[in-house]
């Protein structure tokens, strides 16, 4: 996963409400609410990042070891991708 860049899907419709982020899209019904770590991950992906870079940034924010959160973050990324809020591109692609 380290050669892959993750970023916010440009098709997401976004609103920041206090400590949360609301997301909607034409592709799916309903609205998702991201809070806490999920919001942090989402915000960090405003600029494309590798998983490694994302883990480093989160580790700094939450004062933890990157290795200790990698499983949870990978799972969250998969979920955000499945819902269409995050997309990926191979590092170096145009």
């Amino acid at each position: 996963m380290t050669d892959v860049l993750f970023y916010q899907s440009p098709s997401a419709l976004i609103r920041r409400v206090d400590k949360d982020v609301l997301l909607a899209s034409q592709r799916r019904e309903g609205i998702d609410l991201l809070s806490g770590t999920a919001r942090s991950v989402w915000e960090l992906l405003e600029t494309p990042r590798t998983l490694e870079s994302l883990l480093d940034a989160l580790a700094e924010i939450y004062a933890v070891e990157p290795g200790g959160i990698s499983t949870d973050v990978e799972s969250l990324l998969r979920d955000l991708e499945a819902r269409g809020w995050v997309e990926r591109v191979a590092d170096g692609d145009d």
Binding site: P10, A12, L13, R15, R16, V17, A24, I31
Partner: protein, 372 residues
């Protein structure tokens, strides 16, 4: 010994409407004795986003419970805004398939182009402007996609000659207000709707690009909406005027030129005065160019039909009649008002049997009130 009284300032909705423009200031505390009334006002005037931002910035003091309720209610307002933006993406596809390229007006356009954070500006429907020549195709495209027109045309050809907009409602209940011009009544007739399309800029949303009014025309439309939309303006409309005037890239010289061409000088002047007074912020120096414009008596008289008691006595209809050029066109307008199609009457008031007499009596009551 001198006593000092430490009174806590109570914030008003107008204070909240002024947050974030002009000099930073303390708005005070939300009223504890009428919190529910205050919150209801914030919702009616679509100020929950500004109130939350003011609270987070320490400019508006809320109790923990008040802040939680405000955030929760604002979350609902933002969910509604997102649903409307999703509708924009869908309607955009419908129009693209029909070969039409509408201009996005008001809510989403203003929220995403004039405010630092779109969540500061809630909105309740979707407003799209199409060219008069494309009006029928646009209505058909909406109907074909399951969005039903709420009220039929009063008489054939009324829409293109005198109409401002038609509300369409989709299966999800979201209203799409399809516009042909920017306002109902005389000013709507003086605006040259097809020229509006010369004043657009791109609006990116959900990975797609739409057209919106450019900052100068956005300002003009915000003034029209604030000054003419309701007799007593909603505070978000006044905030839009202040926001765009102070934060967007308005070309005041160009605004003066367009305002004169479309006979909107008094409207812009009225809106700028309201924004200065209600928000208590000075307008930019460039606004003087517009404030110095002269106007005709007919334009001042037309403004009165919107902003005074005349509005409740058929003022807009009377001033529209005055503004329509030519006897034949005046007669056509009058005929549509007095003898609309029966299905128009039926759908205008579904609770009662359609009645021409009742409609005519309204006109008689207007005339009696104007004379009295």
């Amino acid at each position: 010994m001198a006593m000092t009284s430490l009174a806590v300032r109570t914030a008003t909705p107008a204070d909240v409407a002024s947050f974030g423009i002009g000099e930073p200031r303390d708005l005070g505390a939300a009223p504890g004795d009428d919190w529910s009334g205050f919150l209801a006002s914030l919702e009616v005037h679509r100020l929950t986003g500004l109130a939350l931002a003011a609270s987070n910035a320490g400019a508006l003091r809320l109790t923990e419970e008040q802040a939680e309720t405000l955030a929760s209610n604002h979350g609902k307002a933002m969910a509604a805004a997102l649903t409307i933006e999703r509708e924009l993406l869908e309607v955009g596809l419908v129009f693209r398939e029909a070969g039409l390229n509408p201009v996005v007006l008001k809510g989403p356009a203003v929220a995403h182009s004039a405010y630092p954070d779109a969540s500061w500006r809630p909105f309740g429907d979707l407003d799209l402007l199409v060219r008069t020549a494309e009006w029928r195709s646009a209505c058909q495209a909406l109907e074909g996609s399951g969005r039903r027109r709420r009220l039929p045309e009063p008489r054939p050809g009324f829409d293109e000659r005198f109409g401002k907009a038609a509300v369409h409602r989709g299966p999800a209940g979201i209203e799409v207000d399809l516009h042909r011009t920017l306002v109902v009544g005389p000013f709507g007739l003086w605006i040259r709707p097809d020229e509006v399309f010369e004043h657009t800029a791109p609006l990116s949303l959900g990975g797609r690009t739409f057209e919106r009014l450019d900052d100068t025309c956005l300002m003009l439309h915000a003034c029209v909406h604030a000054a003419l939309g309701w007799r007593a303006p909603f505070l978000w409309t006044v905030r839009d005027v202040g926001q765009i005037a102070l934060m967007a890239g308005v070309d005041w010289g160009a605004l003066a030129t367009v305002a004169e061409r479309w006979r909107l000088q008094v409207v812009v002047q009225h809106a700028l005065t309201m924004a200065t007074e209600l928000l208590r912020v000075p307008m930019p120096a460039g606004a003087e160019t517009v404030m110095a414009l002269s106007s005709r008596r007919s334009e001042r008289r037309a403004l009165d039909a919107y902003v005074t008691e005349q509005r409740t006595r058929g003022g807009t209809a009377v001033s529209t009649l005055r503004a329509i050029p030519g006897v034949t066109a005046k007669a056509a307008y009058l005929r549509a008002l007095l003898f609309p199609r029966r299905d128009f009457l039926q759908q205008r008031d579904e609770t009662r049997k359609p009645s021409y007499v009742r409609r005519w009596m309204t006109a008689v009551r207007w005339m009696a009130a104007r004379r009295g």
